[in-house]
């Protein structure tokens, strides 16, 4: 079409130049170079206006042929059917190609030789053909359209009841309802309407044509000059068969009757149609149609056709059917289709790496797009507008145009182009834009006049679509369906990615949750520990306070009793002294008072010492116990010699870490007590260290013991021995003392966190067990020590 337009443009240009030359040369009147104006009334298949404004149909094709043959120029314009006669008579339209003879045009127009016949025929319900077979029916209700062709047959009125109807639709309804037995109609218009209503298998033309009027080219008398060339062109086309082909293509001639064996054209377009070298035919579409024909009880035979025949489509006199063809509006004007049983996805293909931004036809606007000449994608691409559509013949040419850079992208049947790319070895160079941008329905194409065939096929297609036969055929010719289509891969990868992300998110969430829980637990733990510590500290504090209170009580008690005692003694002696007259007595009393004063001082200093022991203000150092005991022994030497006493260190003693003076107090008091409260002839004090020992039923670890062979302690006095200033014996028994020694010892031991206890029998000696802080290195060493000398 484009090429033709180009020609037209060139012609116009030349004509314009000629006109200009003529004017310049002041020549005589020449042929009017203005184009002939033709009206298009939008009646298929004569002339229709497509969406893109182009004109199609028999009239248009005839006009183009005349242009080609004569060099004339014919321009179509759309006009309303009711205006066309007037416009032509007025000369506003100058040419009407292929119009039946019309008396209304006779006065102002000249006519050409016939280009076709316009036949008038009887139409009856299928099966009633014999009613009109003879051509001279009788006793029928016959309908015709007012002012239509039927009015011209008065001979029928005598033997039949002939009535007019307003529209073709009304006639068809009456035929179907039995209100009319037959109708008289122009073959072309009635057939087309029946086809459009899908009633062409119910209402059919029957009998021979009852009239045949020629179709002519009407030319307005103002342009009668072109009649000669037009007639010449028609004669030439008649002779070459061009005209007949044109009529067949557009179904202008009455269609051939339904043949016994339908001829199916196979152009050889694998995998749909394969024309084998041995003259057999195969392919998906071929076998599909065979299957359908078998189901429908139709007989078919395949014939090889060339591309031109394929392009022209099925028509009377050539072949009856194509096994599979994409359905398009323009094609519907020229042929008939069954209901679709296949789809043709069409994809955009680009060179690798150039697909960015391309997803649909809109995104191709302004680009050069290659399409196949006889492909539905061409129609769609051209109808879309805004695309620079380049047309090529066949997939190979389309692909080549893309590969060589003539076009930016191509739009083609996806499967066919994929195959082509594979065959051309361009899989790495060409990229398919996914998903396909359009999908065209495919169906078997039939020539006009095969409505009954079409309906029989339509009846079996639904069954075929759900049959295993179809699956098998697809399997056979297209291979197993590719499961991993690009869309599925994309969806799969997306799903996996989402899943992966979800898993990661879940894991992070879990981690966070766990972390949060851990934090909470930690915090609870910390709080618990803090509370525990606090309560421990509180308990310790309470214990400490209780101890402190007890000490204070004891201190107060002591202050009120033990300190008052010598004071009262002094007072008593002083009072007695005032009554004495004898100097010896006075002297005795004074001495007694001095003694009491000293005792008082001793009590006070002991008390002070005792109170200071609790403050723990002391410097700890590592102390060798042997050394310490030997030093004490040295101080006591004289006393010991007097009373025949000995001090024995029975085991290795550990090094201690404590205040030396306190340690000395501990050992000295225990040793002195052991010697002082002792009636034995050989007074002995033994000192040692034990890792494990059970004392009074409870286990003690790492304890010192100081054992004596003294008088022992009565069990009932057990609680009193550690009480400050508490003495078990009167001064007269074992000498004077303040009774503070063991109180000191206990306070020191307990001040270091240790314990002190004793075992004793009256007369059987006493063993004191107590723990003291060991030096750091002793902790390990002492556990290894195994000298366990039982007391």
């Amino acid at each position: 079409m484009k090429a033709r337009r180009l020609e037209t443009a060139v012609f116009r240009c030349l004509a314009g130049m000629l006109a200009a030359i003529a004017l310049c040369g002041a020549a005589t009147a020449q042929d009017d170079p203005a184009p002939l104006r033709a009206g298009c009334v939008d009646v298929a298949p004569l002339c229709t206006v497509a969406q893109n404004g182009e004109f199609h149909g028999f009239m248009v094709e005839l006009a183009r042929a005349i242009e080609r043959h004569t060099g004339l120029e014919i321009e179509f314009e759309a006009v309303r059917i009711e205006d066309v006669i007037r416009l032509q008579n007025e000369g506003q339209l100058q040419i009407l190609p292929g119009t039946p003879r019309l008396d209304t045009l006779a006065e102002t127009n000249v006519t050409s030789e016939p280009v076709a016949q316009s036949e008038t025929r009887f139409f009856v319900l299928l099966g009633n053909q014999d009613l009109v077979e003879s051509g001279e029916p009788e006793g029928l209700n016959i309908a015709y359209v007012e002012r239509g062709a039927g009015a011209n047959f008065p001979q029928l009125f005598e033997n039949n009841r002939v009535e007019s109807r307003n529209t073709l639709d009304q006639i068809i309804i009456d035929l179907l309802a039995g209100r009319a037995d037959a109708s008289i109609n122009s073959e072309l218009g009635m057939s087309r309407l029946l086809r459009n209503l899908r009633l062409d298998s119910r209402v059919v033309a029957a009998g021979d044509p009852i009239a045949s009027e020629p179709r002519l080219v009407y030319i307005h008398e103002s342009r009668a000059d072109v009649l000669g060339p037009v007639n010449d062109a028609i004669a030439a086309m008649q002779a070459s068969g061009e005209l007949a082909e044109m009529r067949q293509t557009w179904g202008i001639d009455a269609p051939d009757p339904v043949p016994d064996v339908l001829k199916v054209g196979s152009v050889g377009f694998p995998p749909n149609t394969i024309n084998n070298a041995d003259g057999t035919f195969s392919g998906f579409a071929v076998d599909a149609l065979r299957n359908l024909a078998d189901r429908a009880g139709l007989e078919i035979e395949f014939v090889a056709i060339d591309r031109a025949e394929f392009r022209a489509g099925p028509s009377s006199g050539t072949y009856d059917m194509l096994p599979l063809l994409g359905i398009g509006p323009e094609r519907r004007e020229r042929m008939d289709f069954t209901i679709p049983f296949e789809t043709f996805p069409h994809s955009i293909f680009t060179r690798v790496g150039e697909a960015t931004g391309i997803s649909d036809l809109d995104s191709l606007e302004g680009r050069k797009v290659g399409v196949g000449a006889f492909n539905m994608s061409r129609t769609v691409a051209q109808a879309h507008g805004g695309l620079d559509v380049q047309v090529y013949n066949g997939p190979a040419a389309v692909l080549n145009a893309l590969h060589t850079g003539e076009v930016d992208a191509i739009l083609f049947v996806s499967s066919a182009m994929r195959k082509q790319i594979k065959e051309a070895g361009l899989a790495r160079a060409i990229e398919e834009v996914s998903p396909p941008v359009l999908s065209v329905d495919g169906a078997a194409a039939l020539r006009f006049g095969l409505g009954s065939v079409r309906e029989r096929l339509n009846a079996v297609i639904p069954g075929f679509l759900i049959s295993e036969d179809l699956q098998d055929l697809r399997q056979q010719y297209f291979g197993p369906p590719v499961f991993w289509t690009q869309t599925r891969i994309y969806s799969g990868v997306s799903a996996l990615a989402v899943l992966f992300l979800a898993m990661i998110a879940f894991m992070i969430w879990q981690r966070l949750q766990r972390y949060r829980q851990q934090l909470e637990i930690d915090q609870q733990q910390r709080e618990l520990e803090r509370e525990q510590r606090a309560s421990e500290e509180l308990a310790k504090l309470v214990t400490e306070l209780e101890r402190s209170n007890r000490e204070l009580d004891e201190f107060a008690y002591t202050a009120s009793h033990d300190l008052k005692e010598p004071l009262r003694g002094i007072a008593i002696n002083a009072n007695f002294m005032t009554r004495e007259i004898e100097p010896e007595e006075i002297e005795r009393r004074v001495a007694r008072m001095v003694e009491l004063t000293q005792r008082m001082e001793k009590l006070i200093s002991d008390l002070l010492y005792f109170s200071r022991l609790g403050r723990g203000e002391s410097k700890s150092t590592d102390i060798d116990c042997d050394h310490l005991i030997r030093a004490i022994e040295g101080e006591l030497r004289e006393t010991m010699q007097e009373c025949n006493a000995s001090i024995v260190i029975e085991t290795d003693l550990p090094v201690l870490h404590a205040d030396p003076s306190k340690l000395k107090t501990v050992f000295q008091n225990l040793i002195v007590n052991g010697l002082k409260y002792n009636d034995a002839a050989q007074k002995a004090v033994e000192i040692g260290f034990q890792n494990d020992v059970i004392v009074n039923g409870s286990s003690m670890n790492r304890v010192f013991y100081v054992r004596d062979n003294g008088i022992g302690i009565e069990e009932k006095q057990r609680d009193k021995v550690f009480r400050i200033f508490k003495r078990l014996h009167p001064d007269s028994a074992y000498g004077r003392g303040t009774g503070a020694g063991l109180a000191f010892v206990q306070k020191i031991v307990e001040g270091y966190g240790g314990k002190i206890t004793f075992t004793a029998r009256p007369g059987g000696g006493t063993v004191f067990y107590f723990s003291l802080p060991l030096a750091q290195r002793e902790n390990q060493a002492s556990t290894d020590r195994r000298e366990n000398v039982p007391p």
């Binding site: 002696n573 002083a574 009565e714 009932k716 006095q717 009774g739």
Partner: protein
């Protein structure tokens, strides 16, 4: 006051004992009826012996008891005396320096018949002991411990 009225003094402090003796014996002849014990254990031992009919010992009519004693202290002595059926009837006068409320309460609960503070000044001491003596040996009729 007859010579059967013996007084037991449980007191470890020599000065206090001396003051006590002087206070009890001035203006009378009680001196040879006094029995001194310096420890609680000694006092109990003496009383148990007298109760069992030990001829050398005679149960006292009155016991003056110090609380602060070496070894077994006055509180325990008091409890043991008052727990003993035979000894329970002997009046026990606690003489002590302790003004502690617990001590006072505990002693009366244990059955002490009097609780007397030892005054610090000798005159006060004398007076206190003299009044005790008059009260227990002139006003009160004591049981016969014999």
């Amino acid at each position: 006051m007859n010579d059967r009225n013996k007084i037991m003094i449980v007191e470890d402090n020599d000065d206090d004992y001396e003051a006590c003796v002087v206070a009890l014996t001035q203006d009378n002849n009680l001196a040879n009826t006094l029995q001194r014990c310096t420890t609680g254990d000694a006092a109990l031992e003496f009383l148990m012996g007298a109760r069992e009919g030990n001829s050398r010992h005679q149960l006292p009519s009155l016991i003056l008891l110090d609380l602060n004693l070496p070894g077994t202290d006055g509180r325990e002595v008091l409890q043991q005396i008052k727990a003993d059926k035979a000894l329970r009837m002997i009046p026990v006068v606690v003489m002590t320096t302790s003004k502690d409320e617990h001590d006072i309460q505990d002693c009366y609960m244990a059955g002490a018949n009097s609780y007397v503070l030892k005054p610090v000044d000798l005159q006060g001491f004398f007076e206190a002991v003299a009044r005790l003596r008059d009260y227990w040996f002139q006003i009160v009729i004591l049981p016969d411990p014999g």
